[in-house]
Amino acid sequence: MTNDKSISELLSRGILSENPIFKLALSMCPAVGISTTVMNGVMLGIAVFFVQVFSSVTISLFKNVIHPRIRIPSYTLTIATWVTVIDLVLAAYMPGAYAKMGIFVKLIVAFAIITMRLEMFACKEKVSDSFWDAVGMGLGFMVGMVVIGAFRELFGSGMILGYDVLGYKPLLFFILPSAGFFVVGLMMAFFNWIEVVYKQKKGAKA
């Protein structure tokens, strides 16, 4: 399945058909933990995007040098390095947003999605393809975080990106800490439902 890919294919795979949050259900912790606002989603999305792209490119560049027996340690080292860099940069230049994300920036190091892309894609493919694949996956994660964040922010505090759009707070419940589980669960169910309906329609036509 990895032969002959166009950029758009690589991108759409990460964002839609293999979306890390809704489809692969990987790296769920931040999606539940800090998705209370759109801003948090964007910030962590950027951090993950950065780590994914840089790690993929690094591994892809060095794929011929990396000995297969120390593959996994090399991945871990690469990811940890870039996570450290983004962690330092965010702490220095965006202390406010960094404080809100707390420990989750550091925890990107343990995100299964990043290691998985390195193992399944970057260590075999060309640098440019790995780059676009990583961009797609990073964007997919960001989109997932932003969608959940927007839902929770809109319904929980009536705001989007800190601007008051509704003027009242519909359901405080959605920004309460534990509501993350419900929101993610409901959204997954919603996507499943769309898929089922879509398939039924297709079946009826055929």
């Binding site: 390095t81 343990a110 995100f111 589980f181 669960g185 997954m188 169910a189 499943n192």
Partner: protein, 313 residues
Amino acid sequence: MNMKRLRQLVLFSLAVLLLPGWLQAADFITGQSFSGDNEITVTFAGPANTEVAGDITKYTIYEEADPDIRLALASAKVADDAKSVALTFADPLNTTQTHVVSIAGLTGEAITTFTVAKPYFGYLLSIMISALLIQNFVFTKYLGLCVFFGTSKKKSTAKGMGVVFTLVMVISAAMSWFFFQFILVPYNLGFLQIVVFIGLVSLTVQAVDTILRKVNPVLFNSFGVYLVLVIANCIVIAVPLILANNNYNFLETMMLALGAGGGFLLALYLMSSVAERLELAKIPPSFKGLPMAFIVAGQFAMAFLGFSGLQLF
């Protein structure tokens, strides 16, 4: 043989924990503790001079960090047998702080000074309880969700997983603590913590894998499969990161790791118990699988919110 050694170890650690208490008790003052929000109870070896013990002007009491701020006493009530006195304060005390109490002219010496603090053992336990229930890593910190949803389908898997995680967490937390305190902090290398901690976790997993395979193949056959899942999991790496943030000492670190591991085990067990039942339930097709698991986890999380603010010690 093994049991004997274990017992010795337990006795020794208990002795170390209780030693400060014994040392203090060697005096005329045999006991001192907070009782309630604004009260300190002091007990004596024999009957005390009631005139001194009942006179609030003879006392000076302050928090250890603020020696110049004297706390105002409202009353000092000596018990009928004159063997204890209850000191009541005008304002509520900050019982997390160590309080220094001096009494003038109670014994032969001019001033008797002793400290009142919450028992350290209780503090340690409170760290563990907090990591286990109040700040449960799965339900209130939202960590380790991938593995949590992946392996909480059967009770037996859940138990194995939880035990392996706890083991790895305790070992890696111990190593991380040494590394952090003796290498990263002195040389100002705090920024390397992510790399160092993830390296130590991987190392621990590898070591546990090798040792378990040799020492106890039966155990390895049942638990070994979970070891692979441990490395790429945020819950294990979160423990060293949290302890680095909080500047815990070694015992506190162990308690945090134990509590975190126990909390994960508890969460997995609870979830798998529900999951086994869910298999028989009628669930709308679009909710089957993960969505339903998330809803259930959400309900657990809400229940665990009830623990927050809980103070046992």
